[in-house]
């Protein structure tokens, strides 16, 4: 039994083309080409009408519909009248539904090609707009902080303590690991050069000053950017998607005070503490290299570290980390609140939060270091 798709052409009169469909028209079959129809249409003498007859078709699916739609398209463009009476009822109804008259007008997106200058202009305006958003966000955060200092800020203490626990206590494992490794690496790298001069005792200085003055703060900052900045962005982004932030606004609760402020305060308090802990773990890492690999004495290493690390360095490091805390919190919350209303937007927001945090940490380090240069500390 022949189940392939059959297409036959005939010319009942000079200006009429009759197309007969038969057999099985299924997607799995090898289908006739629309080119055959085009050739028939283009052949002389020019046709004015096409009659479509599909009554002999046994089984059909979308393949027949697509073919017929293409035929009708060609006919419409060439102003040829199409006679659909001998198509099965179901086919006629479906063709009707898919026809342009049912489509909503004005909704399709026209793809316009933007010239280079337009793209530059668009990018500039986007940059200005996003800078304005960032500045106004920082401003609002500052105002909320001022309200907090006056004791009038509107947030839940239970939220604050939960965030403190999440960002502080639960970060200890990863901070320990990474800080110790950084201390180890600093000591190891320093030792290679210092050994050449027999000055391996100064490994203690390298690790001590390095960790305490800046590396402890930076490593903690970057860890928290990835861990906590992303988490804040995801939390606030998801709230944005679920209209939870809208619900706060209509209730007259400022999302800045209710959501952003506790997060900012938690990080400002926790980051210096974590930095202190990181400094200690880093020095411990250096200690392992110093005593284990370089055969320095335990008390020797301790005294050398203690004399190298001054209180000034410690304050500088802690100041760095407090600033980083604010930056990570603001980046995470900003990207979360800017989040669009879908799941993929939440993903984008978290990525953006981490990148923004890390970039601002590095920029802030540069600024603070330069400031220290000027102040001579």
């Amino acid at each position: 039994m022949d189940t392939s798709s059959i297409l036959q052409f005939s010319r009942p009169s000079d200006d009429t083309l009759a197309i007969l469909f038969a057999g099985d028209w299924k997607l799995a079959n090898k289908l006739p080409l629309i080119e055959d129809v085009r050739k028939q249409i283009d052949a002389e003498p020019k046709i004015q009408r096409i009659t479509l007859n599909a009554r002999e078709v046994k089984n059909w699916d979308s393949s027949l519909l697509i073919f017929l739609t293409n035929v009708i398209d060609i006919c419409t463009r060439n102003k040829i009248h199409v006679d659909k009476e001998n198509l099965p009822q179901g086919v006629q109804r479906l063709l009707n539904l898919a026809s342009p008259q049912y489509q909503r007008k004005g909704v399709s997106r026209t793809v316009t090609h933007k010239t280079f200058f337009v793209q530059v202009a668009d990018a500039t305006f986007d940059f200005i707009r996003s800078s304005t958003e960032i500045l106004s966000f920082i401003g609002e955060a500052f105002l909320a902080f001022m309200k907090f200092l006056r004791g009038k800020a509107n947030f839940r203490r239970s939220d604050f303590f939960t965030i403190v626990q999440d960002t502080g206590a639960q970060s200890l494992p990863i901070v320990s690991l990474i800080s110790m490794l950084v201390g180890l690496i600093l000591a190891f790298v320093g030792a290679i050069q210092l050994k050449m001069f027999g000055a391996q005792i100064y490994v203690a200085d390298v690790v001590g000053i390095g960790m305490v003055r800046v590396m402890g703060a930076i490593m903690t900052g970057i860890i928290m950017a990835g861990r906590t900045g992303a988490s804040f962005a995801a939390q606030l982004g998801t709230m944005q998607v679920n209209e939870e932030i809208d619900a706060l606004k209509t209730l007259g609760i400022s999302p800045m005070e209710f959501l952003v402020l506790p997060r900012m305060l938690a990080l400002v308090i926790m980051m210096p503490l974590l930095c202190l802990y990181s400094d200690f773990m880093g020095i411990l890492g250096g200690f392992i290299v110093g005593v284990g690999m370089l055969n320095l004495g335990v008390t020797e290493y301790y005294h050398q570290t203690a004399s190298a690390v001054t209180l000034t360095y410690l304050w500088i490091g802690l100041f760095h980390s407090a600033v980083f805390g604010v930056l990570v919190a603001l980046s995470g919350c900003l990207r979360g609140m800017q989040c669009g209303r879908s799941a993929s937007e939440v993903g984008y927001a978290t990525t953006s939060a981490v990148v923004t945090s890390i970039v601002s940490i590095i920029v802030a380090t540069a600024i603070i270091t330069y400031g220290c240069e000027i102040l001579g500390i």
């Binding site: 909503r104 709230m239 679920n242 809208d246 209730l251 007259g252």
Partner: protein
């Protein structure tokens, strides 16, 4: 609720409102008045901007042009503090409830009370239990939103919206996702609130059964002309309106809404 001597106090007046995003105008020249005690339906095809209009009315999005008056005050032209004061008289039920996911149902419902009243915790707990019981969620006080079904979340959202006994309640597609019986119960609740408490209700919906059951005033937003093309009591519109699109909408094509059970599934 304050007793009112006159019957037709306008609660919300919208004049010449245009709304859209950036340079794209979604709807233009909207003019309507919602009077006290109305159950006002905002209806129209999908994507016509009903939810956007709701956002403008509830203070979440600025209009491109035009004014919205609450108690004679132009809402979008006044100070943010004044806007906040006016917004305190609203209750809003969002499409999926928008409950705060880190708080229990009781905490969700209590937050408005904690914010704006001086009630003691015990009194707040009593009111919260009452509100949750009113929506059929007695006993679920300590559940988190993620632990209950979508329909229950909507009801909890309503309890929260009603917490402060608002003058105006806004509903964004309240029957979406509810089974017919729950949808009917919600309709009954809305009617009860409006008749016994005098609450004005604004509902964005395209659920025909609800529109006819509860609506006494409405506007129809037309996607093609991008403006409102009909207003009035839906029951009158279906017989008296000259606009074929409105009739088409209200009779679901050719069949009358009264003759069929509306069991269409709504997204969201």
């Amino acid at each position: 609720m304050e007793p009112d001597a006159e019957k037709k106090i306008p609660r919300i007046e919208v004049r010449g409102l245009d709304m859209g995003y950036g340079s794209f105008v979604l709807m233009r020249n909207l003019n309507f008045t919602v009077t006290k005690g109305d159950v006002f339906i905002i209806m129209g095809g999908s994507g016509c901007g009903k939810s956007t209009l709701l956002k403008i009315l509830t203070g979440l999005k600025e209009p491109l042009q035009g004014q919205v008056f609450y108690e004679g005050v132009s809402f979008w032209e006044t100070e943010p503090d004044e806007r906040d004061r006016i917004m305190r008289k609203f209750g809003v039920l969002y499409q999926s409830g928008a409950l705060w996911s880190s708080m229990t149902l009781a905490e969700n419902t209590a937050l408005p009370l904690e914010q704006y009243t001086n009630l003691k915790p015990g009194e707040i707990r009593e009111i919260v239990s009452l509100k949750l019981a009113l929506v059929g969620l007695a006993g679920f006080e300590d559940f988190y939103p993620s632990e209950i079904s979508g329909g229950m979340r909507k009801r909890a959202g309503l309890a929260r919206a009603m917490a402060l006994d608002p003058d105006i309640l806004f509903f964004d597609e309240p029957s979406a996702g509810l089974d017919p019986v729950s949808a009917r119960l919600l309709d009954d609740l809305i009617l009860e609130l409006s008749s016994s408490l005098g609450t004005t209700v604004v509902v964005v919906t395209h659920e025909l059964a609800s529109i006819f059951a509860i609506g006494n005033n409405s506007i129809y937003l037309d996607t093609d002309t991008r403006t409102m093309t009909a207003s009035g009591d839906p029951k009158k519109l279906v017989t008296e309106s000259k606009d074929p699109k409105v009739i088409n909408f209200l009779t679901r094509g050719e069949r009358s809404a009264y003759e069929e059970k509306d069991s269409s599934v709504h997204p969201g």
